[in-house]
Amino acid sequence: MTRHPCLRRVSNMQKIELEISFFGAFRKYERTGPLRLTLAAGAGMTAVKAAIAEALDPAASDLLKVSALADAQQVLSSAHVFESSAQLVLLPPVSGG
């Protein structure tokens, strides 16, 4: 039996794993280590933030909107595309000094 072409495309889609560590006000959500998300390669910032929102308490959604994703070198722009697995950090608004 031939599989439907759409199903074949989905099953062949490359998956990436994002490991997201929390800081500041998000620390309380890191109960058992970093959050691990599996997404399709090529996911954008909006999709990644939506997946994080789904995994967190709905009460965190306002804070999530003003929080940035970063890696160890830089804060990622809203246009960033996630092509491969990565270790990331979720950064709420900063208040050092």
């Binding site: 800081f23 500041g24 006000a25 620390r27 909107k65 003003v66 929080s67 940035a68 970063a70 890696d71 160890a72 070198q73 830089q74 804060v75 722009s77 809203s78 950090v89 950064l91 709420p92 608004p93 900063v94 208040s95 050092g96 000094g97």
Partner: protein, 148 residues
């Protein structure tokens, strides 16, 4: 990073002596020290202490960038030092030290102000205040998202 810049996120006591020693140089006629300390009140609430969280790898990268910007704006001969504390501090504890060494005082004042203002807006560090009432809360801050 330039030999004239030192940045660090530290989980141990921040040393004023080390900061002064770093920015001292024979050609410098000015040495300026800014010390951030935990105060006993905020927004009319009595504070008992503050916990600082930080993403150290990126915090140190951004502090280095800010120092490089200060040298570009105020003088390549500036010696610049930033250390930020991570962990719990009681009232009076030192949360941040910024030291600037410069041949002349004007660039030292300008650079010091630039470093602390940019640090507060850009460096991934967070403050959780603990109150005498027993409550505690993370403080609002500046978003790192462009056009939040």
């Amino acid at each position: 990073m330039s030999q004239s810049i030192h940045v660090c996120v530290r989980e141990t006591h921040l040393s004023l002596e080390k900061a002064s020693a770093f920015v001292d140089a024979g050609e410098n006629g000015a040495a300026l020290l800014f010390v951030g300390r935990v105060r006993n009140h905020n927004l009319n609430k009595p504070v008992s202490g503050v916990s600082y969280d930080a993403f150290a790898p990126l915090a140190e990268t951004v502090m280095g960038e800010i120092c490089a910007e200060a040298q570009a704006q105020f003088g390549p001969d500036l010696r610049l030092y930033i250390e930020h504390f991570k962990g719990y501090l009681p009232i009076g504890g030192i949360s941040v030290i910024i030291a600037v060494g410069s041949p002349h005082r004007a660039p030292a004042y300008e650079a010091s102000r630039y470093l602390i203002e940019e640090l507060k807006k850009r460096v991934p560090v967070w403050k959780k205040e603990h109150y005498l009432s027993g409550d505690s809360e993370w403080l609002d801050g500046t978003s790192l998202v462009e056009n939040p």
